[in-house]
Each structure stands twice: as C-alpha cells, then as structure tokens.
C-alpha cells in the first residue's frame, strides 16, 4: 500500500513543555490510524501540525510528509486538496450563516465548477445524514448537528486524507455509527485517516492505534509510549486497566476522599406539560412531563437536535417555556431569579471554559463568595478542602484556561460543590474526557447521589447508566 503520510522524529513543545517526543509513524492509503492519549497530551496539536496549521508559539522538530513532501512547504491549494481537517469544537468551525454556504466553502475556494459543487453538497449531506439541514441557519443547529455539518463541510472537497479530531464526541448513537461507517468506506476507497478518539467504539474502526502518554502523569504499565499498538492490544489494555467496569479499583485515590457535599437532599424537580419551540412552526419540546428526585441519577438522552440542552436551560429558567412549568421543591422556576435556581441546581456547561472568569483556580473558587461578601475563614478552609478533594491543590495559582479538559471539568464540579447544591445538571460531562477523567466524574456523581443529591446528566454516552446507581433514562 502507498504511504500517504509519514511522521518522522516529530517533537512538539510549547516552551519547556514537551507534548510529544520523537514520534514516528506512517499512514498508508486505505488505512485508519487511531490516536489516543489522556487530556492535554497534545493530540489536537499533532493534528494541527500535520495539517500545517501551526499555533504561533508551538515548537516543532522533525517532519510531516504528505506523499513525500513536507506539509509546511506545500501551498494551500495542494495541501487542502489532499487533506481535510475536522476539529473537535463545532462552534469554532462554522462561519457561514447557512449550512449550504458552509458546505460549499472549500469547493468554492478550490474553484470547483458550480454544478460539481452542488453534486458534492448533495453527496456529503446524504453521507453524513444532514440532507434535511442544508437550508437551515447554522446558529439554529444543536452541537451535534453542527459537528455533522463540520464533518460534511470538511470532506466536501473529496480529500485523500482525513484528520479527525474527536469528531464523534457530541454525536448521538446513530450519527456516530454513520460517521464510523463513513470513515471505513473512505479508507476502503483508498483514503487515509488519522482518527483522534477516546472511546473504544471509535477505536474499533481503527487498523492501528497510537497511544500518546503524558509524562507528567502516573504511568500505567500497559501503555507503551509512542509505539504503534494494534487494536487487539488496545482492547487488552482497556480490559486490564481502563475499562469502566473497574472504576472503583482504578479510580484515583482522591475521589475516595470526597465527603458529603449535599446541603438539602429533600428536593424534587417537576416538569409539568412543558412545551417549547425556537420556531413558531415546529415545537422542539411538546407537553413534556417528568420528575427528578434527589438520591437518584437521571440520564437525558436523545438524537442530536432533540432539545436536550434546551431542556436543561428550561429547568434552570434560562429559557421560558411557551406553556407548562418547571418546579423545584414546589417553587415555580418562572417566578424565581436565576441566581436562586442556581443555589439549588449546580450546572456544568458542555464547554467548562465558559464558566471561568478569573486568573487562577483559587480565585475561581472564591469568586461568588467574594462578590456576596461571604468569604469568611471557614469558607476559605472549605475551599482548601475542596481543592484537595478534587485534586486541584497543586493548580491553585494556575489560570483555569491552561488546565487540561479533565482538570477543567474537575474545577467546574468543585465550584458547584462549594455552592452546596442539591441537584447537579451536567451537559455532556464526559464527552471529551479520557478514561481517568471520566472515571473521576462518574465516581463524583455516584458519591453525590449516595449522599442524597440528584443528578441530571445530558449525554449521548448510554454506557454511563451502568456505572451510576438508581439510574433512570429519559429519552426525548
């Protein structure tokens, strides 16, 4: 098989911090090579380096060869005709107001004929299952739908290489299966794929998997730094070390130190005939009634665009229902201020970056107490304890935005725990996390629920339920 991409002695670093060192691997035509590794190990940076989209302060040694030519030396036309790059965050990839404009963008730049562009748009829309969305406004799409549009847009130029950076994290089961099939068919047709992923299901479509290890972390015997390991090896690794069934044995010890964080376990959230729509013509949520009790864990699942995040916003009072009501402990949310709702429900965004305002982890924890003049000595002590419990004591002075995804998620959870809420509402809390970080989140939820709190988790990860006690799935 023809070698399409060759990564030779590649070392990537930001100043003193080395992300990956002396990386060597190649990708042949017809092959899907997976890349795995913990959060913050430089997988996304590797993808950027391969596609020659170098961040300004990134130091790169070694070479990335595309059909024998260094990608940094190629002109935009040659590079982009050959490589399609799909990034992790869909919001940062769509810049056109309408989906069709997004899908035509690359081909317009490559001066493809108008009729051919139309053919390609139809083909990729069908392949990715977004034919019904081509006339939609990009801003009206859900996170998962945006990701599908980003995938379709990237492959619309009919590339020979796809660089996919955790592209299935926000997709529902059907869409994930569709995208995996698409990647497999692309490889069968002679294309080459580098697929950064966290889940074993995604790993299943890869012919080989490269595991990048973070030197700063505690090492696991099974992980072999920068070596190519086969998919069977990876499954074995997971069976022994990072399988979710063995959470209790392998969870970091700090999790076990989490104590009761629930202030008022006697709460119930009730949704009465809730209806909501963004468009006058089509109801997104119609006459929905459900209840959430403390001491239980609820998973809200559903297809991309079904209204899961919208439902979360309705519960929090961030959106007003067209009809029906949400009640927390008998109080109607519509009559409460958001600040009051937030004292009962701790919300963690899909993207925790949006929840941080200050320059350090310590200040972030003190933020709301300072503003309400409630930063007493005992609160300071609680914050210290909390940082220890969440394994963040060493990051106290670090800027939250410089933390890894898993650490950011821990900080977001630590902040909600400090406010002593009785319910947690988590939007896709495990979607971009490595196994270690995922185990932490799962264990935290278990303890929160065991201590009498209620957890509502908006997720596509249906395997979560098997790890959570007293779980109920609501599919919308």
């Amino acid at each position: 098989m023809e070698t399409v991409l060759e990564i030779k002695n590649l070392t990537l670093s930001y100043g003193e911090r080395i992300l990956c060192e002396n990386l060597n691997f190649s990708v042949n035509a017809g092959e899907i090579v997976g890349v795995r590794g913990g959060n913050g190990t430089g997988k996304s940076t590797l993808i950027k380096r391969i596609s020659a989209l170098m961040p300004a302060n990134l130091n790169s040694e070694g070479s990335v060869l595309l059909y024998g030519a260094e990608t940094l030396d190629l002109n935009i036309k040659d590079r982009c005709t050959a490589i399609a790059t799909i990034f992790q965050e869909p919001e940062a990839q769509l810049f056109s107001s309408f989906v069709e404009d997004e899908l035509s963008f690359a081909n317009e730049n490559l001066r493809v004929q108008r009729e051919e562009i139309r053919k390609r748009i139809n083909a990729v829309s069908e392949l990715t299952g977004i034919s019904h969305l081509t006339d939609s406004k990009s801003e009206k799409l859900s996170g998962g739908e945006k990701q599908l549009v980003a995938i379709a847009s990237a492959i619309s130029s009919y590339p020979r290489v796809i660089l996919a950076d955790e592209i299935t994290a926000r997709l529902d089961l059907e869409a994930r299966t569709r995208i995996r099939t698409l990647l497999k068919d692309f490889a069968k047709a002679g294309g080459a794929v580098i697929f950064v992923h966290h889940t074993e299901e995604d790993g299943g479509v890869c012919d080989r998997v490269i595991e990048i290890r973070d030197e700063r972390r505690e090492t696991r015997d099974e992980i072999r730094n920068n070596n190519i390991i086969t998919n069977d090896d990876l499954r074995l690794t997971n069976d022994r070390g990072i399988n979710n069934d063995s959470i209790n044995q392998n969870s970091p010890p700090l999790v076990s130190r989490l104590s009761s964080l629930v202030s008022n376990p006697q709460q119930t959230i009730v949704l009465n005939n809730l209806s909501f729509s963004y468009l006058k013509t089509k109801a997104l949520i119609s006459n929905l009634s459900m209840s959430f009790e403390s001491g239980k864990c609820y998973l809200i699942t559903g297809k991309n665009g079904a209204g899961k995040t919208t439902l979360g916003k309705l519960i929090l009072g961030l959106l007003k229902p067209q009809s029906g009501s949400v009640e927390i402990g008998g109080e109607c949310v519509a009559k409460m201020r958001i600040g009051s709702v937030a004292k009962k429900i701790g919300y963690v965004f899909q993207n925790p970056d949006l929840q941080f305002f200050t320059n350090s982890v310590g200040e972030e924890c003190e933020f709301s107490f300072k503003l309400t003049s409630a930063l007493t000595d005992s609160v300071k002590e609680r914050i210290n304890d909390c940082l220890v419990k969440f394994g963040l004591q060493d990051f106290r002075e670090r800027n939250p935005l410089t933390l890894s995804t898993g650490e950011k998620q821990r900080l977001a959870l630590a902040i909600t725990s400090l406010s002593g809420v009785s319910f947690l509402l988590l939007d896709e809390p495990t979607s971009s996390l490595d196994n270690e970080a995922k185990n932490f989140v799962v264990d935290y939820i278990k303890r929160f629920v065991a201590d009498g709190g209620g957890a509502i988790i908006i997720t596509h990860d249906s395997t979560l339920l098997s790890h959570l006690p007293e779980g109920v799935i609501y599919e919308i």
Binding site: I76, F95, A106, L110, R337, A342, Q355, F357
Partner: protein
C-alpha cells in the same frame, strides 16, 4: 420583494450618503420616510433590529437629548427665566436622532441577505475577496463577542449571584470580570475560525467560484434608477437653494 444584494448595497450607500449631506430636519424626515419604505418593501424585521440595537438606540436618544439641552439659541422652554431647551437645540437634537435612525434603518436592509450573499456582492463589485471576507468576518465578530459575553453573564448568575441585587461597585466588578474572558474567548474563537477557513483552502487561488449566481433583474434596475434619481434630485435641490 427580493433584490440582488448589490442593489441593496447601492440603496444603503445612497441613503446613508444623502442623510449625511441633508441640511435640515425636513430633508431628513423625507429621507427617513424613503428608508422606511425600502425597509417595508424588503421586509426588514423591525423588531429584531430594535432588539439588537436597543443599547445603541438608547445612546442615540440620550445624545440627542443632551444636544437639545446644551445648544444655546432662541428659547423654547424656559423655567424661571432659564432656557431649558432652545429652538436650535431642539432642531439639532432631532436632526441627530433622525440622521442616525436613517443610517441604522438603511443598514438594516443588509440584514435581509445572508453574510455570504453580501460577501458575494462585494466580490462582484470588484472588492478583493480576501477584503470582502475580512469585512464579513469583522462584522460577525460583534455578535460572536456578544454571545461570549452573554454566556459568561449567565455563568455568573448560575453561580448563584443575583447581579441585579449587587451594589453598583460590585456590579461593575462582575462585568469587568466577564469582559476580559469574553474578549479573550472571542479572540480564541476568531483564531479557530481562521484556522478552519485556512483548512478549507481559503486564499488557495486569487479568485473563487460562487455557488449562487448573482443576477440583476428588472426590478433591481428599476430600484437602482429610482434611487439614483432620488440622489440626483436631492443634490440638484441643494445646489439650487445654495
């Protein structure tokens, strides 16, 4: 009625230009009337415009009021011999208010086309496409920044903080806290969008294909002629009256 985006750009440019040169409130009211007629023909969503520009409009009303109160001249409203509003002040304030309204409601015509259509129109008008995209990206930065800002304000509220109940000093502190990550977040997002555009072959060639063909229809020509006549008539009148 649907006009070609180039026609819309021409209408916006003419209405804005004549509003700048209009010498009195009567001319300005006439131009505002024509602007609103175009808005109605092109189905501008007034509610959306007013909602989006709520803050700017209040600022314009405030500045007009200040002008009315501070310009000296023939007394119009006096309190105990003190001239509160002069005739000249009132006229200047009104002129400012109407002039700004014309610019806003004329620009609102652009909202009836997508950003892509407007970019295509600029390219057809011989703007380099990099510049046209730069303009449309710069314009889209404002809503992006606004979204980032509002997300973060919501995040503050979700920490259990009732911003409305905070004393004014702390309120400012909250907005100061929110502003800096919102600016940084907006910049990071812009950078990511630029990367994404580069990954999709932006600037691969000196020109690009346009999926949608722009074609001027008879109604576009009629509108262009009418607006051009309006402009000619306006400047002719100005020259005649000196």
């Amino acid at each position: 009625m649907k006009f070609d985006p180039r026609t819309k750009l021409f209408i916006i440019a003419v209405l804005t230009a004549v509003s700048v040169f209009a010498p009195s409130i009567f001319y300005l009211l006439g131009i505002l009337f024509v602007t609103l007629v175009f808005d109605i023909i092109l189905k501008v969503n007034f509610l959306t415009v007013l909602k989006r520009l709520k803050f700017l409009l209040s600022a314009i009303v405030f500045v007009s009021l200040i002008q009315s109160l501070t310009i000296k001249g023939e007394p119009l409203i006096t309190i105990n011999g003190f001239t509160l509003i002069s005739y000249q002040g009132l006229m200047l304030g009104l002129e400012f208010l109407v002039r700004m309204s014309i610019i806003i409601f004329a620009s609102a015509i652009a909202l009836t086309s997508s950003g892509k259509e407007m970019t295509d129109a600029l390219i057809r008008l011989k703007f380099p496409y990099e510049v046209a995209f730069m303009v449309s990206t710069a314009i889209s930065f404002l809503p992006m920044f606004r979204e980032e800002f509002l997300h973060r304000v919501t995040a503050v509220k979700l920490r259990g903080i009732d911003i409305k109940k905070l004393p004014i000093g702390k309120k400012f502190k909250v907005y100061a806290f929110v502003l800096s990550p919102a600016v940084v977040g907006g910049a990071i997002k812009s950078r990511a969008l630029a990367d994404s555009m580069t990954a999709k072959a932006f600037r691969a060639h000196s020109s690009r294909t346009m999926l949608r063909e722009l074609k001027l229809k008879p109604r576009d020509f009629i509108a262009i002629i009418l607006v051009a006549l309006l402009m000619a008539g306006f400047f002719a009148t100005l020259m005649i009256i000196g």
